[in-house]
């Protein structure tokens, strides 16, 4: 490279760096009159953007979104501690909320917010609340399995006839929530035995989407995933789900576990009133309507809003009863590690 061009490129980069650094430092201004709140969002970005835009339209409060995934963002909030720029944290699944709560990260939610939803969607201490739900399903390749061959319970998957036939996304916090349900319902010995059966039988996938794609391609006969991956793909093109059908376990089986996406206000928030307003909106009628009408295919959980009509109704799922704040206790991880799944 010619010397002059090298210098020019260098000067340009330096200018960019300086400009960007100056622009970036503006985020740390003190609380001003017309506050903009910061949302740490681990939910799917498209869905949250819809809900947040509706909130801004209704209240005039602006929201800046920072996107990430449950575990990274929860760890980030803990590292940030009282200096966290976040006002509100929303996740895909409850364990990340439990983690932040265990470190004392959340402020108590307004009673009016908690009263908007049923008790099964919030931990008993009222530090955070669910705003969307997802059902565990067994997604199967309809060309390889008939309705009669489907497992009646998720516990059956540990039996020898399922060896090499199905997939799970074992490392995801999502799957561990399912294991937590098994532990809560069937006890430690049965769970340990079931897990060693899964280690022998299941193929491990990186995520729910990858597992469903493998089912569709016929590489495995079925997979344990969350319902909305299938509904979304069917709504899009069916490219990864054309051969796949869903089996809901029901009957309060651990396999009928319903996971909850959580929202909470950070204790360190400098805009508590606005932050509380956002969580109230997400769990209230208007916010839930946005969720139900979106193409996210997750369940809205407000009794006042009918769920998306394409979905199997929430009332027919018959999930097991588990206390949300107990999910993903250290015991679950210990059992999964002993089985060699983690």
């Amino acid at each position: 490279m010619g010397r002059r061009r090298l210098l020019a490129a260098g000067a340009l980069s330096l200018a960019l760096l300086t400009a960007a650094a100056c622009g970036g430092s503006g985020d740390f201004g003190p609380a001003s009159a017309k506050a903009t709140i910061t949302l740490y969002n681990a939910q799917h970005e498209d869905l949250m953007k819809l809900m947040v835009d509706a909130f801004t339209k209704e209240t005039g409060i602006k929201v800046e979104m920072r996107n990430g995934e449950d575990p990274e963002m929860a760890n980030q909030i803990i590292q940030e501690g009282s200096a966290s720029p976040a006002d509100v944290f929303v996740t895909e699944n409850s364990p990340a909320m439990t983690l932040v709560d265990s470190k004392g990260g959340f402020a108590a939610l307004d009673a009016a917010t908690l009263a908007q939803l049923g008790k099964q969607y919030q931990p008993s201490n009222g530090h955070w609340i669910g705003f969307a739900a997802r059902s565990t399903v067994f997604a199967y390749n309809a060309k390889q399995l008939t309705a009669g061959q489907l497992p009646a319970s998720i516990m059956d998957l540990a039996q020898p006839q399922w060896k090499g036939a199905f997939g799970i996304a074992a490392a995801g916090a999502d799957f561990q929530a399912i294991v937590s349900a098994v532990l809560a319902l069937n006890g430690e010995a049965a769970t340990a035995e079931w897990l060693s059966g899964l280690k022998a039988n299941a193929k491990i996938y990186q995520g729910n989407g990858a597992a469903m794609r493998a089912v569709n391609a016929g590489e495995i006969k079925g997979a344990v995933i969350y319902h909305y991956y299938w509904y979304q793909d069917r709504a899009e093109s069916g490219a990864n789900s054309g051969n796949v059908e869903l089996h809901f376990f029901g009957n309060k089986d651990p396999g009928a576990f319903v996971g909850v996406s959580g929202a909470g206000v950070l204790k360190s928030s400098r805009h508590k009133a606005q932050a509380q307003a956002l969580v109230k909106f997400l769990t209230g009628k208007a916010g839930q309507q946005v969720l139900a009408q979106s193409d996210a295919m997750e369940y809205s959980i407000s009794a006042e809003v009918p769920t998306n009509a394409t979905l199997k109704p929430l009332t027919e799922l018959s999930p097991p009863d588990v206390e949300l704040s107990t999910l993903n206790g250290p015991k679950v991880v210990e059992l999964m590690q002993q089985a060699g799944l983690l």
């Binding site: 650094a21 622009g23 970036g24 800046e64 995934e69 990274e72 940030e80």
Partner: protein, 463 residues
């Protein structure tokens, strides 16, 4: 932390890293020799094509293959794909070194009765040692930290275990202990490279200008060799690009939100340039010290910069969060801190290139300039920098490529609201919208193309 799974993963990591380093060394050296030293038809074009896989992120290559056939899952497939993604890291420095070698040495060997193979083994290969070892070291460090590509291939390694620890157990301290093991693996690689590199001098001593080498005629071998080189290019470049094109056409979610695409591309470009500049500035003095003033301290200093490259992005990023929020809160989540994180993560990429370049620049030239009355700065500007500029440029280009595809540190440390091509790609693939993700992957390849092209430029022989 001692449990069966950890042992299994350690075995997986070692198996993949060592085999891939060896394969990359062989493939990269062979390809470089064919392009630089034989009469292969279309050498200029092949040179660019053989380096081009660097512009395609490893996880895009992985996805391209996985969407074609599930048979690439597992050890053999993972080895194939990471080798195809990373061999240019050996190819490029070896090609550059071959170009700079004085053929007089080989001719002397031939005159002394050495055959072609013996000359290659006894004369050429020893001179290629810093380039091959440096390249293989980079491959090894990349692999220790590689995450996305291997996850897609369902081949769990130690880095996967660290992410699992964060995701499942939500256990930071335990994950950091595992990361400690990774640092030990990294130290082993570094010590190995140091031991094999030896204490030789590699700068040319002869007087006058070295001639270009006489290309070896391939004769009957021309067609098979061409087919072999073409196969490498098709596997490493053709398959992932075809797969990208396929998503663009069939994906129902395919969309071209021009404003977002442009912003994300601009941000990636700016961050990449800034990080490349900062990293080069940081790496140069250390590389200079370690080559010209070799001693325990300078070697230790140089080696210490490699450690962060072997750590998963999440470990470095969370450490930076802790440090900056406690001691330098105003810079937290600013572009400046993000660029610093990139520099820490990717310093070795410049270091390897800079070391090789400085080692090949004869110190006598600088001394002569000073003897003739040039001041230190003037010598640096007019003699030394022009000599090492191609090597440094190559290192800077490698940093740019790494930043364009970096995800974890970007998500955690960028100013809120920042969109880069990598974050948008990730955002869509996690929703299984491969069609929507494809334009971002395509742009990533596109903005990486100039940096890759820069890497392939033939420097003028004597600037």
């Amino acid at each position: 932390m001692v449990r069966p799974r950890v042992g299994e993963l350690l075995g997986n990591t070692a198996r993949l890293t060592l085999a891939c380093m060896a394969l990359c060394a062989v493939l990269g050296t062979a390809a470089a020799w064919l392009v630089e030293r034989t009469a292969l038809p279309g050498r200029r074009g092949w040179h660019v094509l053989l380096a081009a896989p660097l512009a395609v992120p490893a996880f895009v290559t992985s996805f391209g293959w996985v969407s074609l056939t599930a048979r690439v899952e597992g050890y053999a497939g993972a080895l194939l794909i990471v080798t195809l993604s990373y061999y240019p890291l050996v190819y490029l420095p070896v090609a550059a070194t071959l170009r700079g070698l004085d053929p007089a040495l080989e001719e002397t060997a031939a005159a002394l009765g050495f055959g072609r193979w013996r000359t290659f083994g006894r004369v050429v290969l020893p001179q290629l040692r810093p380039a091959v070892l440096g390249g293989a070291l980079l491959v090894g460090l990349h692999l220790l930290a590689e995450f996305g590509a291997l996850q897609m291939l369902r081949y769990p390694t130690f880095t996967t275990a660290i992410y699992d620890q964060y995701r499942s157990a939500f256990n930071g301290p335990a994950a950091n202990m595992l990361a400690g093991v990774l640092v030990v693996c990294c130290a082993l690689l570094l010590a190995g490279e140091l031991g094999l590199r030896g204490r030789h001098r590699y700068a040319r001593l002869g007087r006058g200008v070295a001639r270009p080498a006489e290309p070896v005629r391939l004769r009957r071998l021309t067609v098979p060799v061409l087919a072999g080189v073409a196969a490498v290019v098709v596997l490493a470049l053709g398959v992932p690009l075809a797969s990208l094109g396929h998503w663009l056409v069939v994906g129902a979610s395919t969309a071209f939100p021009l404003a977002t695409l442009a912003t994300a591309a601009g941000t990636s470009l700016g961050l990449g340039l800034a990080a490349a500049l900062l990293t080069t500035v940081l790496a140069l003095p250390v590389a200079w010290l370690s080559v010209r003033y070799r001693g325990r301290l300078s070697t230790a200093l140089e080696r210490s910069t490699y450690v962060a490259n072997a750590l998963p992005g999440i470990v470095v990023a969370l450490a930076l969060i802790t440090v900056s929020i406690r001691f330098a809160q105003p810079v937290y989540q600013t572009t400046g801190l993000l660029v610093l994180a990139y520099a820490i993560l990717f310093l070795p990429r410049v270091m390897v290139a800079a070391r090789a370049a400085i080692a090949q620049a004869p110190p006598i030239l600088g001394e002569v300039a000073q003897g003739l009355g040039a001041r230190a700065l003037g010598t640096l500007r007019r003699v030394t920098l022009p000599l090492i500029a191609p090597g440094i440029g190559a290192g800077a280009a490698l940093v740019f490529l790494a930043v364009a595809t970096e995800l974890t540190a970007t998500l955690l440390l960028a100013p809120t609201g920042t969109q880069t091509l990598a974050t948008e790609f990730w955002n869509h693939t996690r929703d299984v919208d491969y069609g929507a993700a494809a334009p971002y992957a395509g742009l990533m390849v596109l903005i990486s193309a100039p940096a890759t092209y820069l890497l392939t430029r033939r420097p003028r022989r004597h600037p």
